[in-house]
């Protein structure tokens, strides 16, 4: 029988730590076999970039917790505003994030 106090930690290890570590460890083992100048490394960088864009879409369309209280147009508008700010206002990351957040929080007050 597992002590009740340990349960959250075992759950965390089984259902979150191992499922993420497995990819990082596999990456190290795979990369060790490939020489540094291989185009494989360019390819995986593009795959990672496309994947991250996909994760953004998932986080926007199926929000968790408090983020679900903000209307979809606020979440979409926030990301779009951050992107536009980044590319059209001098590639300043902090400014882009601030504008995106302002749109998100503004949309919350508009909707409520």
């Amino acid at each position: 029988m597992i002590p009740v106090a340990l349960e959250p930690y075992l759950l965390l290890a089984f259902a979150a730590v191992i499922p993420t570590a497995i990819w990082r460890i596999s990456a190290v083992l795979l990369a060790r076999r490939i020489r540094e100048t291989s185009p494989v490394f360019d390819w995986v960088r593009f795959v990672a970039t496309a994947l991250l864009a996909g994760v953004v879409v998932k986080l926007i369309f199926s929000p968790s917790g408090a983020l679900g209280a903000v209307p979809l147009y606020g979440r979409l508008g926030g990301v779009a505003a951050a992107l536009a700010t980044f590319f059209f206002a001098g590639r300043r990351e902090l400014l882009a994030i601030a504008v995106g957040e302002a749109v998100l929080i503004g949309s919350y007050f508009l909707a409520n």
Binding site: G54, L94, A96, E101
Partner: protein
């Protein structure tokens, strides 16, 4: 631990400290704000403070942590949660692989590479890809560890603070904190974009995701998006370099 942590020579320590300081000046506190929200999620499912802190320190992947606690709150089975987290964390494979050529050294131990891989997260990955190529080889590993450890330690602290302050933040602020993660992802990939091919990778990721979701469902959709969008961008990049 010899060979795992930067050797305690004064120059390695100096590069480590430089990395730590560079991260602590902005990227780490910003990333940490995004992980404050993990605390309340852990409290909501009745987990202790220690487990919330351990999740940021050892999982070190905001969306995976959100999925884990969200799954528990929804009453999913541990195996179901483990499967969902595994499939949604596939990005760490290409991210870690593309980072490694920058920090590999001849004779480097497997243990050191595994430790470096643990710290890979979007902020650490994108900042490293941008900063490390301009640095001499011998500075990169200690700088990387300093940068990554600043991000991880400050964020772990933030998750603890979030747990203790749980329920104190007004709803729009709590939503704004959770919104930081998709914002970082967006801004990080945009900042890392170096040309048309990167733009294609980003745009195809955004556009393909809803299609992939409809085609193969919420488990394998990201894998399809990454493979198709990434390969399209890669092929375009190759043909352009060959033409040039």
């Amino acid at each position: 631990m010899h060979g795992v942590l930067p050797s305690p020579s004064s120059s390695a320590l100096r590069f480590w400290a430089k990395g730590f300081k560079d991260a602590a000046s902005l990227p780490a506190p910003l990333l940490a704000m995004g992980l404050i929200g993990i605390g309340p999620l852990a409290l909501a499912v009745g987990h202790p403070l220690g487990a919330a802190i351990a999740s940021t320190l050892f999982v070190w992947a905001g969306p995976a942590q959100v999925l884990f606690y969200g799954g528990l709150a929804a009453g999913l089975s541990p195996l179901g949660i483990a499967t969902a987290v595994t499939l949604s964390s596939v990005r760490f494979l290409p991210m870690t692989m593309s980072l490694l050529p920058l920090v590999r050294r001849p004779g480097q131990s497997l243990l050191q590479q595994l430790l470096m891989s643990h710290f890979v997260t979007v902020t650490v990955w994108s900042e490293s890809l941008r900063r490390l190529p301009h640095m001499p080889q011998e500075e990169r590993v200690p700088y990387y560890f300093g940068f990554a450890m600043a991000c991880c330690s400050i964020s772990t602290l933030a998750t603890g603070v979030g747990y203790l302050l749980s329920g104190q933040a007004p709803l729009p602020i709590a939503a704004g904190l959770l919104f930081l993660t998709p914002m970082f992802f967006t801004v990080s990939i945009s900042a890392g974009a170096r040309g048309l091919s990167d733009g294609v990778a980003i745009a195809s990721g955004f556009l393909l995701q809803p299609i992939a979701l409809a085609l193969i469902g919420p488990e394998l959709d990201l894998l399809l998006v990454g493979l198709v969008g990434g390969t399209a961008a890669f092929v375009l990049d190759r043909s352009r370099t060959r033409a040039a």
